[in-house]
């Protein structure tokens, strides 16, 4: 079930019991893996556990900030109504792209980070991970559905420095927590990054589509909406350089 398109065992049990879920039935009709699992499915005989109260460290809901800034963490969704969301960190808003933001996704586990990725401890989100600099992408404000808080102090600048280093616009920053270097093309962390890139395609699709329509250059939407103050590009982000980076991204996903 690596790509999460396949059905869970619970969904297969539901289908076996006659659940009406056209999408699941459609998938079942064309997936040998789910067909094989369903064929070997036993009768569901199990008793639920008695409920038990449990507590964990809270992570309060935060109000949506008025301005979108470098280093903010958000839940972002594709605009085509899929079941999945991604956690992303905002890198910057290129000046020539009025309503688009450049973001990098959060990935796990931290052991898969390379020396280009920014490793995060459990502090901001409640779980560790790393910001996947191999798979940056553009998205629009409407895709940012929930604000999760800022990166810890210093890491926002580290994120921008790493992004600039990855695009050749700056030197590799010192004192930023990254993973280990990649010494060969055989390194499985590169393969994992490509797999994540494939998964992330729907998230970046909106701006990619616009970019292709506009040859990847220039303004794609009027600045500001409903009188709302538009965010300036993050203080640490060089707008022109980021603008040139996003033009590269508009022509297709970069791969390492």
């Amino acid at each position: 079930m690596n790509d999460k398109r396949c059905l869970s065992l619970m969904e297969l049990f539901d289908l076996r019991a006659g659940a009406e879920d056209p999408e699941a039935w459609r998938h079942l009709g064309c997936c040998p893996r789910c067909q094989a699992l369903l064929a070997g499915m036993p009768e569901p005989r199990f008793a639920d556990l008695p409920p038990r109260p449990l507590r964990l460290p809270p992570r309060p809901l935060l109000p949506r900030p008025r301005r979108i800034r470098t280093g903010q963490l958000w839940r972002a969704v594709p605009l085509d109504g899929t079941d999945w969301a991604e956690v992303v960190a905002i890198v910057c808003r290129p000046v020539r792209w009025a309503d688009a933001y450049l973001a990098v996704p959060l990935a796990q586990p931290p052991e898969l980070a390379t020396d280009r990725d920014l490793v995060l401890g459990p502090k901001p989100l409640g779980y560790p991970g790393f910001l996947d600099l191999a798979n940056p992408g553009p998205l629009v404000r409407d895709q940012l559905v929930e604000y999760l808080g800022p990166l810890p102090p210093g890491q926002a600048a580290g994120l921008v420095s790493l992004y600039r280093a990855a695009t050749g616009a700056g030197d590799r920053p010192a004192g930023v927590q990254t993973g280990l270097p990649v010494l060969s093309g055989q390194d499985p962390r590169l393969l994992e990054a490509r797999v994540r890139g494939e998964r992330l395609r729907p998230l970046w699709r909106v701006v990619d589509r616009w970019a292709r329509a506009r040859d990847g250059v220039g303004r794609v939407r009027p600045a500001g909406r409903d009188g709302e103050e538009e965010a300036r590009p993050g203080a640490a982000c060089d707008g022109e350089r980021a603008g040139s980076s996003i033009r590269q991204l508009g022509g297709g996903r970069r791969e390492r």
């Binding site: 079930m1 690596n2 790509d3 999460k4 398109r5 396949c6 869970s8 065992l9 619970m10 969904e11 049990f13 539901d14 009709g29 064309c30 997936c31 040998p32 893996r33 789910c34 067909q35 094989a36 699992l37 369903l38 064929a39 070997g40 036993p42 569901p44 199990f46 008793a47 639920d48 556990l49 409920p51 038990r52 109260p53 449990l54 507590r55 964990l56 809270p58 992570r59 309060p60 969704v77 079941d83 999945w84 969301a85 991604e86 796990q108 052991e111 459990p122 989100l125 409640g126 779980y127 560790p128 280990l180 270097p181 990649v182 010494l183 060969s184 055989q186 499985p188 490509r194 494939e198």
Partner: protein, 327 residues
């Protein structure tokens, strides 16, 4: 009645988590998710806290261990950050359960890797003991063809990065609880040791090898509770599994494959990379990677190297009975 959470239960659970609570509905549903896995034998029992699926308390014990070791330590927050619907949650957490059990299994057998590495290098002609010592961590190893090799004096970071550079390794077995998990097959362990020595171009001590193994397979190691010098002798080589174990392994492999990987596994031997890539609408490289991943998933589920062919055959047999999907 659906086994999934309802939309309302899902929304309530998400809200409650933010204020630090697990709702009763979510708790019961998590138990149900484990019970479903138990009922379908989609995972081998060896990594379970009790080591058995037919134990009456197995579901409760597994849930509590999962909550304690993973879900309450950020796992649930991450799940609700990623999932927007109850069905997504069922897919995400089913996979998370699998990964957690896999990690448990790997952890339980971590320290054996270095010991096996020492035995393998001592037994095989391709390696040579460069400097002997009473404890395994102080023994230095090189390649047999080297004459007077230098002793490695580089950093641990370079060492671990070199270990990553060696490529992918199939990691997990689902053995019975009586036969403990070797983590890496002998051939993969040999490839790892030889590749690492070639890459650094110098003799490595047992401590270096331990650093490289722990860095590369970090998730295979729990905080050390057993000193390197206290590790027990290895048991006798494993015997070949019986039909029930092969069926269980095939089912576990099937559960961890995606449908695309299963298709690639099934069709790759009869087709060229180009044609298969064209049919699946992906690049040749993707087909190649998917094939490698699929073979590794079967290897990982196999009780031993010797059983791989039988498990693969069983996976393909079950998949062909299920139908001929074409997405």
């Amino acid at each position: 009645m659906s086994l999934l959470l309802s939309q309302r239960e899902f929304a309530d659970a998400r809200r409650a988590l933010r204020s630090g609570e697990v709702t009763a509905e979510l708790y019961v549903w998590l138990g149900r998710l484990i019970a479903v896995t138990q009922a379908t034998r989609a995972l081998a029992p060896s990594p379970l806290p009790s080591g058995r699926w037919d134990d009456r308390e197995a579901v409760a014990e597994t849930l509590h261990a999962w909550l304690e070791e993973s879900l309450l330590r950020g796992g649930l927050l991450r799940a609700f950050d990623r999932c927007r619907t109850p069905r997504a949650l069922s897919r995400y957490l089913e996979r998370a359960l699998r990964n957690w059990l896999v990690a448990r299994s790997r952890r339980s057998s971590g320290p054996r890797l270095l010991e096996r590495a020492g035995l393998l290098m001592a037994a095989e002609d391709g390696f040579a003991l460069v400097r002997d010592a009473n404890v395994s961590g102080e023994r230095w190893w090189g390649l047999a063809e080297w004459r007077r090799p230098a002793l490695y004096a580089g950093s641990d970071e370079t060492l671990v990065a070199s270990a990553w550079a060696l490529g992918d390794f199939a990691l997990l077995r689902y053995p019975s609880s009586q036969r403990s998990d070797p983590v890496l097959s002998t051939s993969d362990l040999r490839r790892f040791l030889r590749g690492l020595l070639e890459r650094v171009g110098a003799a490595l001590s047992g401590r270096h090898l331990d650093t490289a193994l722990r860095g590369r397979f970090a998730y295979a190691y729990a905080p050390t509770t057993v000193g390197l010098d206290e590790v027990e002798e290895l048991a006798a080589p494993e015997t070949t599994a019986g039909p029930v174990e092969i069926e269980d392994a095939a089912r576990a492999a099937l559960g961890s494959l995606s449908c695309r990987q299963l298709r690639v596994l099934r069709e790759r031997p009869q087709d060229t990379l180009e044609r298969l890539a064209g049919r699946l609408g992906v690049s040749r490289g993707t087909v190649d990677n998917e094939y490698r991943r699929a073979v590794m998933a079967v290897l990982e589920a196999s009780p031993s190297d010797e059983d791989f062919a039988a498990v693969l055959e069983e996976v393909l047999r079950v998949a062909s009975q299920g139908g001929n999907g074409d997405e």
